[in-house]
């Protein structure tokens, strides 16, 4: 029985201290289930989007995906970049692989996301160029986008789920398949390396994703 590819399981819930733990009018389990369903619908819609033409990343697009997943559950927070509340910056703290981080300060957040998206769009245009390019370049560009947006942590919650859409959209725009991370600990370890490593820190995670794609067989 594979919980990852079958009927929904009951009893999943977010961390209690998470801002998106429980939506008004729903139990924590319903909140989780509804956001899983919204994310699934959004992922299905990426196929037609990629078919329509190259996907240009932008902060607005990232926000729209976050809003698609969480808008009905948390309308006040979904799709909104962290900013200032009562004059105070909305900082966010998170942990990856036993290390703590603070997301990009709200004052710099918009500029940082613009830069990350522009870097991806430029790399994507080069990769799409008729000159020979191998698929690893595409995976590496998608991985950089994923890790950098996650490091910036643009939202008060739901950052990984929203940024996972960006990773998938980036892979799709290169004609690559979406990927599932069966080894959660490995994902976190490699993401941690991407956050703090030196000398192309994205390479280990990119190679892991490339391996998932390369080793996949048609069902």
């Amino acid at each position: 029985m594979s919980p990852s590819h079958g009927a929904p399981f009951r009893g999943f819930r977010d961390e209690e201290e998470s801002p998106f733990f429980r939506a008004p009018g729903h139990t924590p389990e319903e909140t989780w289930e509804l956001s899983v369903n919204r994310l699934a619908r959004l992922l299905v819609s990426l196929g037609p989007l990629a078919n329509a033409g190259p996907i240009e990343m932008s902060p607005e697009l990232l926000c729209s995906w976050h809003r698609e997943i969480f808008g009905e559950l948390f309308p006040d927070r979904a799709g909104r970049l962290r900013g200032f509340r009562d004059g105070q910056p909305q900082h966010v703290y998170f942990g990856v692989h036993d290390r703590g981080y603070r997301g990009t300060t709200p004052r710099e957040l918009r500029r940082r996301l613009d830069k990350i998206c522009t870097e991806f769009n430029t790399a994507a245009a080069d990769i799409r160029d008729p000159a020979p390019n191998d698929s690893y370049d595409a995976v590496h560009a998608a991985t950089r986008l994923y890790a950098k947006v996650l490091r910036a942590h643009p939202f008060v919650d739901g950052n990984l789920r929203g940024t996972y859409v960006a990773l998938d959209a980036a892979l799709l725009t290169f004609g690559l398949p979406l990927v599932q991370f069966n080894d959660l600990a490995r994902h976190d370890e490699l993401l941690g390396t991407a956050f703090v490593g030196r000398n192309d820190p994205y390479r280990p995670l990119a190679e892991h994703i490339a391996e998932i794609i390369r080793d996949s067989q048609s069902a």
Binding site: F9, L46, F174, Q217
Partner: protein, 76 residues
């Protein structure tokens, strides 16, 4: 490193993209499957488990859910 067959949408020699509609795929449990709702749900659940940031707790939740599902199926 390249993966034959993965790039379903390639640039033509003049640089334009093929207009043909391409099937999107996902890798689920190591297998490449069309991106339908079931596959997308599996990916969405995976992303939610990753978002916990606690692989050990995620594994415990999965195991607990599997036990509950087995019990439900057995006594249904």
């Amino acid at each position: 490193m390249s993966y034959p067959g993965t790039m379903s949408k390639r640039a033509n020699s003049n640089g334009s993209q093929s207009n043909g509609s391409q099937t999107a795929y996902a890798v689920i449990d190591g297998k490449r499957v069309p991106l339908d709702y079931a596959a997308a749900r599996a990916l969405a659940l995976n992303a939610h488990l990753l978002s916990l940031g606690d692989p050990k707790r995620a594994a415990e939740m999965l195991a607990e859910a599997e036990r509950a599902e087995r019990k439900r199926t057995t006594f249904a």
